[in-house]
Symmetry: C2
Subunit: 404 residues, 2 copies
Amino acid sequence: MKYINGGVTAAKGFTASGIHCGIRKNQTKKDLAMIKSENKCSAAAVYTQNKVYGAPITVTRANLADGMAQAVIVNSGNANTCNSDGVQKAEQMCGIAAEALGVDKSDVIVASTGVIGLSLDVTPIAASAPALAGQMNGQGGHDAAEAIMTTDTVAKECAVSFDLGGKTVTLGACCKGSGMIHPNMATMLCFMTTDCRISSAMLQKALSDVVKDTFNMISVDGDTSTNDMVCIMANGQAENPVIEEENEDFALFRSALAEVSVKLSRLIAGDGEGAQRLLECTVSGAPTVETAKNIAKSIICSSLVKTAMFGADANWGRILCAIGYTPGDFAVDCIDVSLSSCKGEVKVCQAGFGIDFSEEKAKEILLEDEIRLTVEMNQGTAAATAWGCDLTYDYVKINGDYRT
Amino acid sequence: MKYINGGVTAAKGFTASGIHCGIRKNQTKKDLAMIKSENKCSAAAVYTQNKVYGAPITVTRANLADGMAQAVIVNSGNANTCNSDGVQKAEQMCGIAAEALGVDKSDVIVASTGVIGLSLDVTPIAASAPALAGQMNGQGGHDAAEAIMTTDTVAKECAVSFDLGGKTVTLGACCKGSGMIHPNMATMLCFMTTDCRISSAMLQKALSDVVKDTFNMISVDGDTSTNDMVCIMANGQAENPVIEEENEDFALFRSALAEVSVKLSRLIAGDGEGAQRLLECTVSGAPTVETAKNIAKSIICSSLVKTAMFGADANWGRILCAIGYTPGDFAVDCIDVSLSSCKGEVKVCQAGFGIDFSEEKAKEILLEDEIRLTVEMNQGTAAATAWGCDLTYDYVKINGDYRT
């Protein structure tokens, strides 16, 4: 498996583009994207588990009921959520995409991201869709990735290729997500495309498996969004032997999907609203995977750990505190904690108690952009990793005046 | 029941004081307090449920096993937690207090608050205890309240009096808490004193009942501290008919305890680290009390709601989002939401969808110091209230360099 350039248009037969249509006031920000496959695709998705969910979720879920899709339309600047006319507007978006792209309306995946509770005006979408459709091409993945950004500071995409049954298969993706990030079953918007030949059922299985250990292990602010969605379309153009059961090819495809998902999860966490540092917390030696996951998430969600990391302060007592309030049955008197980055590693806690370490060295380590928090529980073999970011002045600034 | 001046020395027979002994570097900050009753008291306490808990919790739990206590010793500046010599140091503190105050060592409640994982030097405590004991008196409650402050900006105390069986009973308390506030079974340090005659068992029952709906419904930052403790001593000097069962007198005493606990809970939330505004969230019309509590807590814990309140931004979609990710079985399409303060009230959401409201009026309401978020679920009769605060630049500042 190897990383290649590109995103959602890296796989054979996919085109995309992004444009400013007028939903966002800032004319330099793209706000509408479409992605299309030449032929119909096996498709799968996972959605937010928030009981309050966006109208596009309702419509996409219905359109994907048959496991098939051919195109995506997505806007930023308005989440189309908590509006009494939301479902109607989301269906109109599908109709607009279907007409502009020459696909069936029921094969369109629709998504929206932005402010909640503001009625969505589809007029600019309808007016710009033909022009957007006209400029879609096999290099347009980056423009699409830009058009789905909200408070993101960088476009997030990646692609890998690997061999299946003598054929080269490509898997590409773009995603967005910076605030309201605490995914549960899915994350903020993520669109994946592949030319792999795989059934809808196997595609859904691979996606559901992978999401649990990747996107669902990120948190920027503990808020599970109303519009989270990860979807994938597989158009089969790689002509590999079709994957219809959990065989070796399925395992390889799933590991490629996991590779891409971890990469994107790290991109989202590292670009969390206001973030200066990516936090990667690995818990090992745990009695169960559930406990390892819960502890890793407790740590990266702790406001006190996050602010300490902002201050490059090795205040490890806050890590112990976050471990201690994690639900589950485990011992705390055998836990070791280390902090590391490209500048080295310091052990700060052994068997639940503090040990002497160089504050100077710790400071040097914590001033880097990517920090690893390593927890060895010494009471089992299970492990998990979670990703988050520091809590900074800019997070407060961005969210104190997001809407106004 | 009426509010009276004072705190832990308001009830008959209690003396207290606070002093700077040298644990904190800043000589203008008191860091050691003691509280004493003339006679032995019925006593009860609730403690943090964090699996990592301070050594003083271990020692106090042992000393209160017989339901009796006579004195409190407490320091700020060091939490005496995650230290291999912690229990030994906490026991030394009890010994120091017992000698200075002339009480049994096993009748001393010990508590510590401050940095986790730093060995506690008891030398300055031993050196200052005699002087502190010498200055204790019936007006010293405020000095004790000051000595337990860490990042608190105001001392927190209150007292009420009420009649029981023809006798006037007084209940007073002081507490501290500003960061690492997300109590579970108790809160940051809170010391209550009363001259009520009540058995240890009834005192524990009243305290456990009240804590669930008061201190456990506060959150400043979602972090459950390692040292949370609420304790109460009742010395019986009011000479009311002793409370030994759940009768009318018990109900009255419990309601006085609830009154004081709500008052202190609001003081803690309003003085949350960096806070500009107290948030009070009331959920009514819920199918169960559990659901009402969970939703109220979800809302006041949401970083996005908290930053919106900092920005005085009526971004109610974030409230709906926080409701939606709350666990439990409930409908979202019948929920109404209003925002209010002393400047009036605006309804922002009806039956799950946004409604027109004056942004100008909402801004005026949200610029006040105390904001009420009211959620009417329209699907039952249960209700709950939670208290929190906004998330500000100062929270990040305080916690980015707390230790250094």
